[in-house]
């Protein structure tokens, strides 16, 4: 039973993550690949987050302000912010420049 609950919760979390990730990806896909992420953020993020928040509030009201629903949709909202943040924040990964390997044929 516990395993089933854990599986169910994991499934819901994974599905939520995937849906939000895809929805953000769709926004980026609607632009040219060369378009700057900051430009897309400026153009689309306000409308994206307003629509998402409205949907979340709509569900919370529909489910009579149930605590579980409030927690779930608050997580959806913050997850969306986190994913947008990852998209627009410059990557900190540093790539080492390979030396010119003159000995190779």
């Amino acid at each position: 039973m516990v395993a089933l609950i854990i599986f169910g919760i994991s499934f819901i979390l994974l599905a939520t993550y995937t849906i939000i990730r895809i929805s953000i990806a769709c926004v980026f896909w609607s632009f040219n690949t060369s378009t700057n992420a900051k430009y897309i953020f400026k153009r689309c993020f306000p409308y994206y987050i307003i629509v998402l928040t409205s949907i979340c509030i709509g569900f919370i009201i529909t489910f009579n302000n149930s605590i579980l629903v409030i927690y779930y949709f608050s997580s959806v909202y913050f997850l969306a912010l986190f994913l947008w943040r990852r998209k627009i924040k410059p990557s900190k990964k540093s790539f080492a420049v390979e030396p010119n390997q003159t000995h190779l044929p």
Binding site: N36, K38, F41, P46, I49, T53, I67, K89, P90
Partner: protein, 461 residues
């Protein structure tokens, strides 16, 4: 200082809203929001316009206290977004203010953290917060104050009693989460932001219409002819309709309910739709260069006549609706028709100004959305349930008592008063008694955050 203010506000937010119904708390929240906005945007609050909108916002908060209606809560929320939007950009249209206000409320902090610097084309992350220092300035003074309170408690019995009265038992995880939500909300709104490019585009767009490059006399001549024929025919049609309509109103003094019902329900909807279509036709005819065509006087005069005739049509619908209200009582739908008519009349007047002063369609949007906002705020000030009940008991020729009982609790005290005065059947009296009992029970159990004006009324009795 700013952080202290926001933390205190978050604390109050949780005190006001955690596990509470809407009442006095919404007005206090409005007051708190205005104070925070005024402190952080002191320059913007020197403008009379902003002060006026802050006043409107507070008034809608008071309306929620006086009659806890859904309309007052909606008006309060819309005024909140309008005020924040106005602080983000003072000169933009009201619908852009709503967009800016909504965006600031939802994600102001996030946007500020990733503000794009146009000059450098880089994303500016905010300065790193020194959490260790923050913890130090909160925890160390708090620990020392607690130690000293313990010491002073032993030295003075009055101080000891005072300290023992302080009860923080209501604070739990959920209370803290609500405080967190309040903190996030105040962090979002304290420094309003704008949605680009919507705001700059709106600021660039003026209210005037200009002659375009494809100005061609032969094309305009044809358009002018089409406009004259179309509007002239519509004028003739509306005159005939008005004559028959006025004859109907004058000859049917005591009309049967079924006749009025069909007249009002199907007829009024069709007439309102016809007026909206009339406005759309006029906007289409006067969309461009016809406004600058020298021989457009006839079509303009016909358009003005048509607008005036449509305004008369609005009045005739208002008369029919008023008669319906007089015979069968006031209801929300009938009030809705009146509100719709006011908005339609505003639409007609603004269309007339648009044609006369060669304004563009944005002018119409700006003025009409403003009008809709004003109508919403005024409508929110009125305790409709009370007035519907009062009118139906005192003035209407007939009424549906079950409809009145099914209205919100705002008419409960009045219904209770009216039980004795009107001959109401026992079943309805029982329902009213039940409603009164439940409502007074709810009022007595209200905490100070949930207080309503009816609480004061009940205490006076």
């Amino acid at each position: 200082m700013k952080q202290f203010l926001l933390l205190t506000s978050a604390f109050f937010f949780s005190i006001l809203f955690y596990d509470k119904q809407i009442g006095l708390n919404l007005f206090l929240f409005s007051l708190l929001s205005v104070i925070i906005l005024a402190i952080n945007n002191s320059d913007d609050f020197k403008s009379k316009k902003n002060i006026g909108f802050a006043g409107i916002y507070l008034t809608t908060g008071l309306a929620v206290f006086f009659h806890d209606s859904a309309l007052a809560i909606i008006a309060n929320s819309v005024s909140f977004f309008t005020l924040i939007g106005l602080l983000s950009q003072n000169n933009s249209s009201i619908y852009v203010n709503w967009l800016n206000g909504l965006y600031t409320t939802v994600a102001g902090l996030f946007h500020r953290n990733f503000t794009v610097n146009e000059a450098k084309q880089t994303v500016e992350s905010q300065k790193e917060i020194d959490y260790v220092h923050l913890a130090k300035i909160i925890l160390i003074p708090a620990a020392i104050v607690i130690i000293f309170i313990g010491l002073y408690q032993n030295g003075n019995p009055i101080f000891n009693n005072l300290i023992e009265k302080i009860d923080f038992s209501y604070i739990n995880i959920q209370w803290l989460l609500v405080a967190g939500l309040g903190y996030y909300l105040f962090l979002n709104i304290h420094n309003p932001i704008v949605v680009e490019p919507a705001t700059s585009q709106d600021l660039k767009t003026g209210n005037l219409l200009f002659k375009t490059k494809d100005f061609s006399i032969p094309v305009l001549k044809q358009e002018n002819q089409l406009g004259i024929i179309l509007i002239a025919l519509l004028n003739v049609l509306i005159v005939i309709f008005l004559i028959t309509d006025i004859a109907f109103i004058l000859t049917n003094e005591e009309v049967r309910g079924s006749v009025f019902s069909s007249q009002v329900h199907s007829g009024i909807n069709a007439l309102i739709a016809s007026i909206v279509i009339a406005i759309i036709i006029l906007l289409y005819v006067f969309r461009g260069n016809l406004n600058f065509y020298k021989e457009n006087k006839t079509v303009k005069h016909l358009a003005f006549t048509w607008i005036i005739l449509n305004a008369i049509l609005v009045l005739s619908i208002a008369v029919k609706n008023s008669q319906y209200i007089y015979y069968f009582g006031l209801t929300y739908k009938r009030i809705g028709v009146l509100v719709y008519l006011i908005l339609t009349l505003t639409g007609l007047v603004t269309t007339l100004i648009k044609i006369d002063k060669t304004k563009n369609i944005w002018y119409l949007f700006r003025l009409n959305t403003k009008a809709a906002f004003i109508v919403l705020v005024i409508a929110a000030m009125i305790n409709w349930d009370y007035h519907i009940t009062n009118y139906n008991f005192n003035y209407a020729k007939s009424m549906d008592i079950n409809y009145l009982i099914d209205l919100s609790d705002n008419n409960t005290l009045l219904l209770k008063e009216k039980i004795e005065t009107k001959g109401i059947e026992n079943k309805s009296i029982h329902r009213i008694e039940e409603k009164y009992k439940n409502y007074t029970m709810e009022l007595y159990t209200n905490s100070w955050q949930e207080l309503q004006y009816d609480n004061l009324k009940l205490n006076r009795k």
